[in-house]
Structures are given as structure tokens and as C-alpha cells.
């Protein structure tokens, strides 16, 4: 047995004996889409005790983007003078009428960028075009957008704007907890996102733990790191204790990345934002400050803020709120597959429906087909 296998075995042993001491089923939400993917990929569910359940949360930025936001991106992209730059996964998300990809096929200029600064560079290179950077993502990604806005101001670019749909994760977690009595979401703790926490810091979760008496454990993305975080969550549940534990200290500090937080504060202010499935959540959005108004696509193009309805048959909203599993959706694997996705949870490679489609149990309640996680413990 290698050292890693030994470690995995001992963590698994701890997790199982703690779980055995709990008389009921424990449910933990992995907030982050990368955790969802990683857990599925290594067959985590197959080694967990029967009374430990992992449910997906609102941590895939593509999946939480509201229908109206997608429609606005497409609307902008269809303007003849606009070049719309965005990150890869957004282009296939279906809007009310088609996707960015479909718009591009019909002649719209849609450009996939690796970095926000690529969008700035494009605006400089093509002064005759109006370049719009459609930005989604949580606190990990938002500083890059803030940097692009600063660069645009420094360069005094007249043809660059940002359609910002950035979101803050803590208000969404808070909304889920506040809604829990009505929604029936039973949660014993959060597996908190590693790379968001790099920016916001461990301390950002303290108010949640205090107010809602809920356990929060920050985890890395390796199977063994996820397992370690889960073992901590089960221990806390067994002891009826709510605490905040950082199991990813090699990257996450108590106060996070100060330079990034300062930059965010310079460019954005907290305000309401609409989430798919969760509706409008106060303080969960990052609104471009007045001082950057001339780079704000919403203001410059005077975009409307109507609340569009989401496709009725798609359960994405419930899936990302931990209230439904992909197989609960009638379209899962039938009308909706990664090749022809209907909702964003199937489009994004980190979406819960995509992960289930790829790795999930084929028959409800059955064991996942693949498990490569070292099933070393007795």
C-alpha cells in the first residue's frame, strides 16, 4: 500500500466509524462544481457509508447564470457592431432563442477568450468594433474582470464594456439556509469551495457558521482532500457541533487574497443578483461602480432587467439548490444530453447533470459504474 493509499484508508475508516455513530442520514452540500466533478470522477459515492449523502450546490457559474442574463448576452452579440467575448462554456448555454453558438453561426461575432485581458486587447486591436466582455464567475474569476476594467480605464478605451454577471457565493449559501425550512432542504454542513476561498478567505464563512449553526469545511480538489474534508464534516455532525475548518491551508489563508479583494472593492459594489433557480438574492451580485459606468455594458447599452422565465421542464434550478437530482428531471438522458443540452447543468463540464450523465448510477439507487478511489479500508 502506498502512503497515499494508507492515508485514504485511514481517513475512510474515520469517516465510516463516525458515520456509524450517527443514527440518521447526513447530507452535505458540495458547493463547488469542481468538487462535484472530482467526487464523481473518483467514485466517491461508492465508498461513502449509506447514511452519508453528497448533494450539489449552486457553485457552477454557468449553471447559476439566470436565463435573462444569457438572453442579454445573445441580444448584445447579435448587434452588428458588437464583438462579444466570453469564456468557453457560455457559448452553448441555450437562451430563450438559441445560444451564443447559434448566434455565431448566423453571423454574430462571438469570441472565446482565455483571459479578460484578451478582450481588452481585442478592443485595442479593433477600434471600429464595440467589444463587450460577458463575464460570469464567482470571486475567483471576478478579480480578472476588475483588472480588465482598470486596464480599460487606464487605456481610455471608448469601445470596451463589460456585461458583468459575477456572483458572491456566501449570500447564496445564506439564501439556501434561510429558505431551508420552506424548501425542505436538510443540510448537515457545507463542503466549501477551495479556489473561491483562496480569494475570500476562511473568515468569510464565520458569519454563516455562527448564525445558522452549520458546519463549513474548506476542501481541496484531490480525492483524498475531499475525503478528509468530508470526514471532518461527519465528525462534526456526530458531535452536534458547527465549526469552520480549513482543510486546504496550503492555498487558503484566513483573510484570503487581500490584493484581489481590494481590487474587487475598487470596481464592484455588492447588490442584488438573479440566480437560476434561486431567484433574486440580496447582496449576491457584483455591480460595477458608478466610477466605471462608461465601461458597464448594462448602462451603455441600456439593457433591460426583466425577469425571464426559465425553461419549464428543466430542473436545473432545483438541482443546484440541492432539491432535486438530475434523474428526477424527465429530460435527463432523453431530451437532454451533453451533445444537445437543454439546461446549463448539462452544458457545463462541471454541471451536476453533466457529471451524473457521465458517472452517475445508470439505474436510480444503483451503484456508480466507476470507482477508482482507493477502496483500501477493510
Amino acid at each position: 500500500m502506498t502512503r497515499d493509499e494508507k492515508e485514504t484508508a485511514s481517513i475512510l475508516h474515520r469517516l465510516r466509524s463516525s458515520a456509524a455513530a450517527c443514527p440518521r442520514t447526513l447530507a452535505f452540500m458540495e458547493v463547488c462544481g469542481t468538487h462535484t466533478m472530482s467526487a464523481f470522477r473518483c467514485g466517491l459515492a461508492s465508498v461513502l457509508p449509506k447514511n452519508v449523502r453528497l448533494i450539489s450546490g449552486p457553485g457552477c457559474p454557468v449553471c447559476v447564470t439566470a436565463q435573462g442574463e444569457i438572453d442579454r448576452m445573445i441580444e448584445l452579440a447579435r448587434r452588428p457592431e458588437v464583438t462579444l467575448c466570453t469564456y468557453g462554456d457560455m457559448v452553448r448555454v441555450p437562451g430563450r432563442r438559441g445560444s451564443l453558438e447559434a448566434a455565431r453561426r448566423e453571423g454574430a461575432r462571438v469570441q472565446i477568450v482565455y483571459s479578460s485581458l484578451d478582450a481588452v486587447a481585442r478592443a485595442r486591436a479593433e477600434p471600429a468594433r464595440r467589444v463587450v466582455f460577458a463575464a460570469v464567475g464567482f470571486e475567483t474569476t471576478a478579480p480578472a474582470t476588475a483588472a480588465a476594467l482598470l486596464a480599460a480605464r487606464r487605456l481610455d478605451l471608448a469601445n470596451f464594456t463589460v456585461l458583468a454577471s459575477h456572483k458572491r457565493i456566501i449570500p447564496a449559501m445564506r439564501a439556501l439556509l434561510q429558505g431551508a425550512p420552506r424548501s425542505g432542504l436538510g443540510l448537515d454542513g457545507f463542503l466549501c469551495p477551495g479556489h473561491v476561498s483562496v480569494i475570500i478567505g476562511q473568515q468569510a464563512y464565520e458569519p454563516l457558521v455562527r448564525e445558522f449553526n452549520v458546519a463549513c469545511v474548506i476542501g481541496g480538489f484531490e480525492p483524498v482532500q475531499i475525503l478528509r474534508a468530508l470526514a471532518d464534516l461527519v465528525d462534526l455532525a456526530r458531535d452536534h457541533r458547527a465549526a469552520l475548518i480549513n482543510q486546504y491551508p496550503e492555498a487558503v489563508t484566513p483573510e484570503g487574497n487581500q490584493a484581489a479583494r481590494k481590487l474587487l472593492d475598487t470596481v464592484f459594489q455588492a447588490g442584488p443578483a438573479r440566480w437560476r433557480g434561486l431567484g433574486e438574492i440580496a447582496q449576491s451580485g457584483m455591480i460595477i461602480r458608478e466610477s466605471f459606468a462608461r465601461f458597464d455594458a448594462r448602462r451603455v447599452f441600456q439593457l433591460s432587467e426583466q425577469a425571464e422565465r426559465e425553461p419549464a421542464s428543466c430542473l436545473c434550478g432545483k438541482v443546484i439548490s440541492g432539491l432535486a437530482l438530475p434523474p428526477d428531471c424527465k429530460l435527463f438522458g432523453r431530451g437532454c444530453t451533453p451533445i444537445s443540452p437543454i439546461g446549463p447543468c448539462m452544458v457545463s463540464s462541471e454541471g451536476t447533470c453533466a457529471a451524473w450523465f457521465k458517472y452517475g448510477p445508470r439505474d436510480a439507487g444503483g451503484a456508480p459504474e466507476r470507482h477508482t478511489l482507493q477502496e483500501a479500508s477493510a
Binding site: G88, F138, T141, E222, E250
Partner: protein
Amino acid sequence: MCLAIPAKLIELKGDQGVVDLHSTRLPVNTLLIPEAKIGDWLLVHAGFAIQRIDSRAAAQTWAALRDLAEAAEESPPAGAKDRPDAAPRVTGETP
């Protein structure tokens, strides 16, 4: 969700640098890690360094992320063909 990839900083001029990501050279901006210096291992997300880590943690994270990247690669994600060739597949995802 917000995948950041460990890579080693090999060039730096102001806040514009280059990281080596398993023999791929990739531009990186160090605005968010002002103390970054050549030789550092950085977590890179959407072209920006967001954290400094030690080389051991970098190796661990890399292994985990490579698996995830392969997982994502099995069914080519949206816009795969549009990605800049210099960018490794994982970082071309929506961060």
C-alpha cells in the same frame, strides 16, 4: 467551478509574466500576487495568478486537476475548437 492551475513563474516584467505549465508557456498577470517572483509556484486562474503555493502542494493539485481535465476532455466541452492553442485545455473552461 473555479479551477486554478498550479504553474511555475519563469519570466516577469512588471505584472506581466510567463508561467511554465508542463512545458507550455502561458502568459500570466501577477497583479493579484504583487510579491510573486521568478521561480514561484502560482495558482493561475483565467490568466491571473491568485495564490502562491509551495512546490509540493503544486504537485498534488496538479495530479488532481489533470484527472479532472481528462474527464472534461473525454467529451469535448463547448468551444473546444476555438481555444487558443497556447492555452492548456483546463484553463480554457469557464473558470
